[in-house]
C-alpha cells in the first residue's frame, strides 16, 4: 500500500510545505524584505534657502560641488594606489570606504568622496572615466559669501547617525544645519525633499519612470531668511575685536532685533566646506586656549561688574529706599561690616548723590543702597528674593529665548542659595554685599547685559532679542514685549546718571559729537585656577551703552576679557560702534586705529607662560 501511494503522499506533503513557505513569504507584511531593489528612489532636494542681512545683502548662497560615486558592481579591477593619489584620499581610508560601499550594496551608488570643488572636478572628470563604476555627481553645498557673523549663521554638515536616529526625515549623506541659524531654522532653510521613483533592471539601469511617475512626490521649496544682523556693523565690530577676547552685542531696543553679535576669537563658516573641513573642525575644536567655537556673547558667563550698579539704583528707587537726592559719603571705600572694608576709587570724603554715584561709579553708594534694599524687609531672605525678582524682570538668570540653540542662563542668587550655604537667614546684606557692584555670585552673559541695557533704554520694557527678521520677505513679527518691575519715571533718573558717565564720568572717551550717549563702565575682577591655585588675572573691561539717550536706536554691550578698566577698551569700542551705526562715519580715526590695532595677546599669554606674573599693568 505504501508503495502504491508513495508518490501521491510525497506530492501532497511537498505541496503543503510549499504553501506554508509561500504563506510566510507572501502573507506576512514585514516578511522577508522590505526594500524593493527594483524601484530606484531618487531624492530631489530643493535648493537650500538663502540668508540675507537686514539690508538685503546676500550672506549665504549655494555653490556646486561634486561627489565621487561608486557602483561596486560596475567596477573592474583597478589600481587603488593610483586612485588614492588621484582623489587625494589615504589608501587605507579609500579601501575602507570601498569595502563599506560593497558591504552596503554592490548595486546601489555610494559616495566615496564628498565636496569636490569645481576646479578639482574639472581635473578629475578627465581622468575618472578610466575607472569603470566611478563617476562624479553634482551636489550643492553652502557658499558663505561674507566671512563675518559666522557665530550667528553657523554651518552645515553631513548628517550624523544620531541626527538620523532622532529624525527619520534624514538619510545618510544628506546635509543638515549643525550650528547657528543654519541649525535653528533648518526646517525652513532645507525645504522638504521630493521623491522620484524609477523602474530599474538588474543591471541597475533605470529603464523608465515607475508607475508613470504617479507615486512621485514634489519637493517643497526652501524658504529664504532675512536676519536682523547688519552685516556692515558686524564686520566693523569684528574688526574692532581683532586680537582681543570677548563679545559685542548690539540690539535695536525698539524691536529686540540683534544688529550685531560678535564673539572673538571666532571661526569662519567656510572652514566647514570643501577639502579641509575635517581638519579645520578638529583644529577649531582642539584650540582650548582661544576656544573659537565657544560663543562668548551667548555662552560666556562673567561677573557683570559696575553696570549692575544701574540696576541696583533702579531697584533702590523702586523699593523707595533711596531717591534722586539721597547722598552717601565715600571714604575711598567704607566698612560695610565690622572689620570688613570695601574699597572705592573715589577720594576720601566724597559726597555723592545718585547721579554722581553713577557717573563716578561709587562702590560705597551702591553697597549702601543694596544694604538698604535688603534690610527693608524682615529677613534677608525676603529682601534678597525681592531684589532677585527685580533683577530677573530684566531677563537675567535665565535663557532669553532668542532663536539660537546655544546660550547660558547666567546666575542671580536667591535666598535658597545662601540659606543652603550659610543656614537659614544666617547671612545678611553684608554677607552678600558684592552683589551690589556686580561681583560676587552674579553671573551674566554679554547678551543679557545688552538686553537689560535695552530695557533701560526703553524705560521699563524690552523685546525678546532675536535674529529672524523675515521669512521669504514676510516680516516675522515678534511682539514679545516684556515689562520690567520698575516704574518708568525711575528710569529717567538713572539714565541722567548714565549720560553723565559719558559726559563727565568714567567713560568720557565714549563721547560722540552731537549724540547723547548713555553708558556705564565696568571693571571686573576675575580669577583663574592654575594648578589648583586661585590666581587673579587682569580685570575684564566692560561697557553697556545706548544712544541717543532721549530716543535710543541702538544698545551696545561690550565685554573685553582682561582689558583692565572699562573705559580702556570696552567703552571706546562701544562708542565707535554707535558712531558707525548712527552716522556711518567715524570722526575719531585715531581711536578707531588704536582699537583695531590694539592687541591683548600678551595679556592672554601671561598665565600660560610662567607662574608669577603681574596684572592690571
Amino acid at each position: 500500500m505504501l508503495k502504491k501511494y508513495l508518490l501521491i503522499w510525497i506530492t501532497i506533503i511537498s505541496s503543503f510545505i510549499f504553501v506554508v513557505k509561500l504563506a510566510t513569504l507572501q502573507l506576512s507584511r514585514d516578511s522577508f524584505f522590505n526594500s524593493d531593489f527594483a524601484i530606484q528612489e531618487i531624492s530631489i532636494y530643493p535648493e537650500r534657502g538663502l540668508i540675507f542681512d537686514r539690508n538685503g545683502e546676500l550672506l549665504v548662497a549655494n555653490q556646486p560641488m561634486y561627489d565621487l560615486i561608486i557602483i561596486p558592481e560596475n567596477t573592474v579591477k583597478f589600481d587603488t594606489v593610483e586612485l588614492s593619489k588621484l582623489i587625494e584620499v589615504e589608501l587605507t581610508e579609500l579601501k575602507k570606504r570601498i569595502s563599506n560601499s560593497v558591504n552596503y550594496s554592490t548595486k546601489i551608488p555610494s559616495v566615496i568622496k564628498t565636496q569636490i570643488s569645481k576646479e578639482e572636478n574639472a581635473f578629475l572628470q578627465e581622468r575618472i572615466w578610466l575607472y569603470d563604476g566611478f563617476y562624479l555627481r553634482k551636489n550643492s553645498v553652502r557658499d558663505y559669501i561674507k566671512p563675518y557673523a559666522s557665530n550667528v549663521i553657523g554651518y552645515t554638515g553631513e548628517v550624523s547617525q544620531n541626527e538620523i536616529n532622532a529624525e527619520e526625515y534624514y538619510e545618510k549623506g544628506e546635509m543638515i544645519g549643525k550650528q547657528g541659524i543654519e541649525k535653528y531654522y533648518e526646517n525652513e532653510l532645507r525645504g522638504v525633499k521630493g521623491k522620484k521613483y524609477f523602474q530599474k533592471d538588474r543591471f541597475n539601469r533605470v529603464i523608465g519612470p515607475y508607475n508613470n511617475s504617479e507615486e512621485d512626490i514634489d519637493p517643497i521649496k526652501a524658504e529664504n531668511i532675512t536676519l536682523t544682523i547688519d552685516i556692515k556693523l558686524q564686520e566693523y565690530a569684528e574688526s574692532l575685536l581683532k586680537n582681543k577676547k570677548g563679545g559685542v552685542v548690539v540690539i535695536e531696543p525698539s524691536s529686540g532685533e540683534i544688529l550685531t553679535l560678535v564673539s572673538s576669537p571666532t571661526y569662519e563658516s567656510n572652514q566647514f566646506i570643501g577639502k579641509g573641513r575635517t581638519g579645520n573642525f578638529q583644529k577649531l575644536l582642539n584650540d582650548s586656549i582661544n576656544r573659537p567655537l565657544f560663543d562668548r556673547s551667548l555662552q560666556a558667563q562673567y561677573s557683570p561688574g559696575s553696570p549692575m550698579k544701574i540696576l541696583n539704583a533702579l531697584i533702590g528707587l523702586q523699593e523707595e529706599v533711596i531717591d534722586e537726592n539721597t547722598t552717601f559719603t565715600c571714604n575711598a571705600g567704607h566698612y560695610y561690616a565690622k572689620n570688613a572694608f570695601m574699597g572705592c576709587h573715589n577720594k576720601f570724603g566724597t559726597v555723592s548723590d545718585l547721579r554722581k554715584g553713577i557717573y563716578n561709579s561709587c562702590n560705597t553708594y551702591f553697597a549702601k543702597t543694596y544694604k538698604m534694599i535688603l534690610d527693608k524687609y524682615d529677613t534677608p531672605s525676603e529682601g534678597l528674593d525681592k531684589w532677585a525678582n527685580h533683577m530677573k524682570s530684566f531677563g537675567l538668570g535665565d535663557y532669553l529665548g532668542y532663536d539660537l540653540f546655544i546660550g547660558k542662563k547666567g546666575f542671580i542668587p536667591e535666598s535658597n542659595y545662601y540659606n543652603k550655604f550659610y543656614g537659614d537667614n544666617r547671612w545678611g546684606s553684608s554677607t552678600t554685599i558684592s552683589n551690589s557692584i556686580g561681583q560676587g555670585e552674579i553671573l551674566t552673559t554679554p547678551i543679557q547685559m545688552a538686553n537689560f541695557a535695552s530695557a533701560i533704554a526703553n524705560r521699563g520694557f524690552y523685546f525678546k532679542p532675536h535674529f529672524l527678521k523675515k521669512i521669504n520677505n514676510e516680516l516675522a513679527l515678534d511682539n514679545n514685549k516684556i515689562s520690567t518691575s520698575i516704574d518708568k519715571e525711575n528710569f529717567e533718573i538713572v539714565i541722567g546718571g548714565m549720560v553723565d558717565v559719558v559726559d563727565k564720568g568714567t567713560a568720557r572717551i565714549a563721547k560722540i559729537n552731537g549724540i547723547n550717549v548713555a553708558g556705564k563702565t565696568g571693571t571686573v575682577e576675575n580669577f583663574i585656577l592654575i594648578e589648583n591655585e586661585k590666581k587673579q588675572l587682569t580685570d575684564h573691561s566692560t561697557f553697556i551703552a545706548f544712544a541717543p539717550a532721549e530716543n535710543p536706536e541702538i544698545v551696545v554691550s561690550v565685554f573685553i576679557e582682561n582689558g583692565y578698566w572699562g573705559s580702556r577698551w570696552a567703552a571706546p569700542i562701544a562708542s565707535l560702534i554707535i558712531e558707525k551705526y548712527l552716522t556711518d562715519n567715524i570722526q575719531r580715526k585715531w581711536l578707531e586705529n588704536r582699537m583695531i590695532n590694539g592687541s591683548l595677546q600678551s595679556e592672554y599669554e601671561k598665565p600660560y607662560k610662567n607662574n608669577s606674573f603681574t596684572i592690571n599693568e
Binding site: 508518490l7 510549499f18 509561500l22 516578511s31 524584505f33 524593493d36 550594496s105
Partner: protein, 419 residues
C-alpha cells in the same frame, strides 16, 4: 480507429493542462515584456516562440490521440536508443549554451535531446518492467533497470548538466512501485541523511554522531535481550562512516565551488544575498513582493526590472509569485498537485502493466520538476536549472511534456479495453 468521443478522456487533467499552459504563456509574456513590443506571434520574441511550440504540440495532440496505444509499447526501445544516440552525439554536434553542450541547432529551431530522453526513458522503463519475466527481486533485473536509468543520467551529467540528470532519479518511484524492495528506499534515505549530516557538520562530528546512534541502538537491544551479533552493527556503521567520508571527499574535491556554494546556501552554512545566493534571493524578494493578490499582470517591479535571472525559464515561478501573489502561487501548486495525483491514482486503475508504469513514470517526472523548480524558487532546494513543466519557457520542454501528457490521455482513455 474508433470514433472520437471526447468524454472518454480524462477531462479534468486536460483542463489542468490547458490552464497551466495558458498561465505559462501569460507569465512568459510578462517576464519578457518590454515597451517596444510588437506582436505576440512574432517568432523573434520569446513568447512568440513559445506559442509556436504550443501550436506544434497541439499538432502532436491530434496525431497521438488517434494513435493506437500498442504503438507506444513497441516504439519504446527504438525511441530509447535514438535518445541515447542523440545524447552521445551531442558531444560532437552539440551547441553549447550556458556552459553545457546540450543543444542541437537545426535552422532557427534549437532542440534539447535531454527532454526527449525523459519521454523515451519513461516508455522504455515501462516496457522493460512490464515484461512478464522481469522480477525486481532478481539482482540481474535490478541491474538492467539501473542501466536504463543511469545511462542517460551519466550522459547528461557529462554535458555537463547535472541538474537535468537529477531529474531521472524520479524513476525511483515507479521502480519501487513495481516491486523493488523498500529497504533500498530506506537505505537510500539513511545514506542521504548521512550525506546531509556530513555537509552540515563535518566528517569528524558526523562520525561521532553516527557512533553515538549505534551505541544507543546497541544498548537498547541489549536491554530488550535481542541477540544480534556485533558484526550486524559494525557493518552498517562502517558503510555509513565511509559514505560520510566519501561525501566529504566528493564535496571538497569533486564538486566545483559554485555547486558547493549552492548546497551550503540551502543547508544554511552560508548567507550571501548579493553574490552566489543572488538568484534565489531575488526570486524570494519578487515572490514576497506579491503579497496576497500580487502586483497584477505586467506590474511586477522585480519582473519588469529583470532582477531574477532566467526568469522566463527556471525562475518563472517568481513572476507568478510577484504578479499574481499568494493566490497565483496557490493556484499553480493546486493544479500541479491535482494533475500529478490524478495521473497517479488513475494509473493504479490500469490493468495493463505497461500503461500503469508509464503513467507512474510520467507522474514522477512531473513531480520531480514541480518539486525542484518551485522548491528552488522559494529557497527550499539548491539552485538547479530545470524548467517548470508547461509554464517555463522552452520549446523542447513544452513539446515533450505535452507529448507525454497526450500519451497519458490516450492510454488512460482506453484503460478498460486493450486495443
Amino acid at each position: 480507429m474508433n470514433s472520437f468521443n471526447i468524454l472518454k478522456y480524462d477531462l479534468i487533467s486536460l483542463f489542468s493542462y490547458i490552464i497551466l499552459v495558458t498561465f505559462g504563456i501569460i507569465n512568459i509574456y510578462s517576464s519578457s515584456y518590454n515597451e517596444s513590443f510588437t506582436s505576440i506571434f512574432d517568432y523573434s520574441t520569446i513568447v512568440g516562440k513559445q506559442i509556436i511550440f504550443l501550436v506544434i504540440s497541439l499538432v502532436t495532440f491530434i496525431i497521438i490521440i488517434f494513435t493506437k496505444n500498442k504503438f507506444f509499447d513497441s516504439i519504446a526501445p527504438i525511441l530509447y536508443f535514438i535518445s541515447i544516440a542523440l545524447l552521445l552525439s551531442l558531444f560532437i554536434f552539440g551547441v553549447e549554451r550556458g556552459g553545457a553542450k546540450s543543444w542541437y541547432l537545426i535552422g532557427p529551431i534549437s532542440f534539447q535531446p535531454t527532454e526527449l530522453a525523459k519521454l523515451s526513458t519513461a516508455l522504455f522503463l515501462a516496457k522493460f518492467l512490464s515484461i512478464i519475466q522481469t522480477d525486481l527481486n532478481k539482482s540481474r533485473d535490478i541491474f538492467i533497470v539501473g542501466i536504463i536509468i543511469l545511462t542517460p543520467i551519466a550522459l547528461i551529467t557529462f554535458q555537463p548538466d547535472p541538474g537535468s540528470a537529477l531529474v531521472f532519479l524520479a524513476f525511483i518511484f515507479p521502480v519501487l512501485r513495481e516491486g523493488l524492495d523498500l529497504r533500498f528506499f530506506y537505505f537510500g534515505l539513511i545514506i542521504f541523511s548521512t550525506l546531509i549530516l556530513t555537509l552540515i557538520f563535518d566528517f569528524t562530528v558526523s562520525s561521532i554522531i553516527l557512533f553515538a546512534i549505534f551505541i544507543i541502538i546497541y544498548m537498547y537491544n541489549q536491554r530488550n535481550r535481542f541477540k544480534i551479533s556485533v558484526l550486524k552493527y559494525f557493518l552498517p556503521f562502517i558503510i555509513l562512516i565511509s559514505v560520510s567520508f566519501s561525501t566529504n571527499y566528493l564535496f571538497e574535491n569533486v564538486l566545483e565551488q559554485r555547486h558547493r556554494d549552492r548546497i551550503n546556501l540551502i543547508i544554511g552554512k552560508e548567507v550571501d544575498d548579493r553574490g552566489i545566493g543572488y538568484n534565489t534571493n531575488q526570486s524570494k524578494i519578487a515572490i514576497s513582493n506579491g503579497g496576497l493578490f500580487g502586483a497584477g499582470f505586467l506590474e511586477g517591479t522585480q519582473t519588469k526590472g529583470n532582477f531574477v535571472p532566467r526568469q522566463h525559464t527556471d525562475y518563472i515561478f517568481s513572476t507568478i509569485g510577484e504578479e499574481w501573489g499568494f493566490v497565483g502561487t496557490l493556484f499553480t501548486i493546486l493544479f500541479f498537485t491535482l494533475l500529478i495525483t490524478r495521473i497517479s491514482i488513475r494509473a493504479e486503475k490500469q490493468v495493463n502493466h505497461f500503461k500503469r508504469i508509464y503513467c507512474n513514470c510520467f507522474a514522477s517526472l512531473l513531480f520531480i520538476h514541480f518539486f525542484i523548480n518551485i522548491g528552488m524558487a522559494i529557497g527550499l532546494v539548491p539552485s538547479i536549472g530545470i524548467p517548470l513543466p508547461y509554464i517555463s519557457y522552452g520549446g523542447s520542454s513544452l513539446l515533450i511534456f505535452s507529448v507525454m501528457f497526450f500519451i497519458y490521455l490516450n492510454i488512460d482513455s482506453s484503460r478498460l479495453k486493450e486495443d
